[in-house]
Amino acid sequence: MSLSTAAGSGVTPGPARRGRLRRTFDKHWYAWAMVAPTIFVLGALVLYPLVRGILQSFTNLTETNQRAEVCSKTLGGAESCTPNPDRWHWVGLHNYTDLLTGERGHFWLLLENTIVWTLACVLLHYLIGLGLAVLLNRNFRGRSLYRVLLIVPWAVPAFVSAFAWKFLFNPKFGLINSVLVHLGLDPVEWFNHRWTAMFAAVVTNVWLGVPFMMVAILGGLQSIPAELYEAAEMDGTSPWQRFRHVTVPGLRPVSSTVILLGTIWTFNMFPIIYFVTGGQPAGETEILVTGSYRAAFEGLRNYSLAATYGVVILALLVVYAAAYRRVLKSKGEVW
């Protein structure tokens, strides 16, 4: 049905019969024109570097070997250039084998961290978001005030919240340990252990991401027809059963989108890990995306290694998205 608007839409009005092809073009011309600016920007700024990155991952390109010639310019003097003896070359799958066998970096550690990180964050985002949304979807006094206040973290830039939480978690000067001590508990050396450090990062990211989830789910809740609840009540269901059999399935369209996007975003959530734990202790909380950052920006830039990280991340996420889509499709959801 949605074809309709474009039907009969010629560039120039006129009764002349045009060829079918021409009319197809006329019809889709609008659609393409409307998508074109976005495609153009994304193509230039994301797709092109992405393709380049994929190519680079099969080379040994770094900052120093990218030039064909090594030139040395002397101030007020001559420039002398010699061919670069170490010019980059294709290395096939070398980077991938290096990375996956742990020859360079700690791929499997990072992957494990990334999965734990993503799983924990998305799960907590979703569950807390769902819980708060269900509460806020009831009718009671002060609801809108709670709603406004609970969304505040969304308005805080990521690096600010990272700083704020790092502050709170500071083992010596942070409020959290100070409260623990006042309660008669031992202070925790948050960043000295892998999982406590990860915990601090997860808390920060959960704090940051719950409002979005909450609002999205709240929207989804309001689109569930009230009759469904009434029918379920007539069927003698308990509140929990209604939640389980009406709310959860009714939220599936919203959930499927936010979980898919949430997973992708969290997977690549760079600033929180970088600013809060900085990978401490001893790199044990690095995730794949911080690994790619370090390869790209720490010391001599290793473009090929960074690109390899990027391609592996991309591949993992594409596989995930495709599988996710397939599961959704089997349940009758499509996007």
């Binding site: 949605s2 608007t5 976005t38 700024l45 806020l136 009671f140 594409v318």
Partner: protein
């Protein structure tokens, strides 16, 4: 909520207490770090990071005075406002048109476009910065606000398009038909009929694009060279030199950076739920 008759909606005092207790705890957690930064910003520099933790410690507005009058903060602020607003306007224009096309037309390449949007979210930004810099350099856009606006649009538009497409899906297509009969072409239909109806969705998109641009650091650091052209996110990094982060300036700056975001948020929040309702549903 008008789901149930009023009488049945009343809770027992106990469950009412539990409800409010849960929400109060959640709200406290949501606000606490913000409040803590605010409190810190009122302390003198040496008291901000200290073994002795007080809520207040010689409260003063000195930090704010210094940020506002002794640094380029006002410049950065203005730059951020300009960049965020342009990102918002351009980002919304792009994602609204693209979202409309994806919602209404069944054109060849549509599925590819949806995948493309998803894939752009998957590639780490760190790897994109250097190539995008080169592109910007070729366009002569280095050290301009335009470079940031374009880059931020590429970050925010895929999600916004996705969301607006969902929102447009909820607007009955008969309205488009009616508009066609009333003499509007697709572009005019979009402008006169669909856009006015999509206001809640657009509000969310506006909020989202604004925030994307407002607090961004990585691109701003890379593309902006001169101090006067920095945006807030990048500018505040100046208070984190190699040693001795200047907590006084940083906390005060952080509070000031949150203010306009909250303001935008305050105006958008009415529409937030309604906008995401439709957008999220159809996602």
């Amino acid at each position: 909520m008008t789901r149930k008759p009023r009488g049945r909606d009343e809770r027992s005092p106990l469950s009412s207490l539990a409800l409010h207790a849960t929400l109060v705890v959640a709200t406290t957690i949501a606000l606490f770090p913000v409040v803590w930064v605010l409190l810190a910003s009122l302390k003198p520099q040496d008291a901000i990071q200290s073994t002795e933790i007080h809520l207040f410690d010689h409260p003063t507005l000195e930090n704010y005075r210094r940020v506002l009058f002794e640094t380029s903060f006002p410049h950065w602020f203005l730059n951020s406002v300009v960049v965020a607003i342009f990102t918002m306007v351009i980002g919304i224009s792009m994602s609204a048109t693209a979202g409309y096309a994806l919602s209404r037309f069944n054109f060849p390449g549509k599925r590819g476009v949806m995948w493309l949007f998803l894939i752009t979210q998957m590639f780490p930004v760190a790897i994109l910065i250097v190539p995008i810099y080169t592109i910007m350099a070729n366009l002569g856009l280095i050290d301009t606000k335009a470079s940031l606006v374009i880059a931020y649009c590429s970050v925010a538009v895929p999600f916004c398009t996705w969301m607006l497409r969902g929102y447009f899906d909820t607007i009955p297509p008969e309205l488009d038909d009616a508009a066609a009969l009333d003499g509007l072409g697709p572009f005019k239909t979009f402008w006169y009929v669909v856009l006015p109806l999509a206001r809640p969705g657009l509000a969310v998109t506006a909020f989202y694009t604004f925030l994307t641009a407002w607090g961004e650091v990585a691109y701003a650091i890379a593309f902006i060279l001169s101090d006067k052209n920095l945006t807030l996110g990048a500018g505040l990094q100046q208070f984190v030199p190699r040693f001795n982060p200047q907590w006084d300036l940083l906390t005060a700056g952080a509070v000031l950076i949150m203010l306009p975001a909250s303001l935008v948020f305050y105006f958008a929040q009415k529409h937030l739920v309604a906008g995401l309702t439709a957008g999220g549903t159809k996602g």
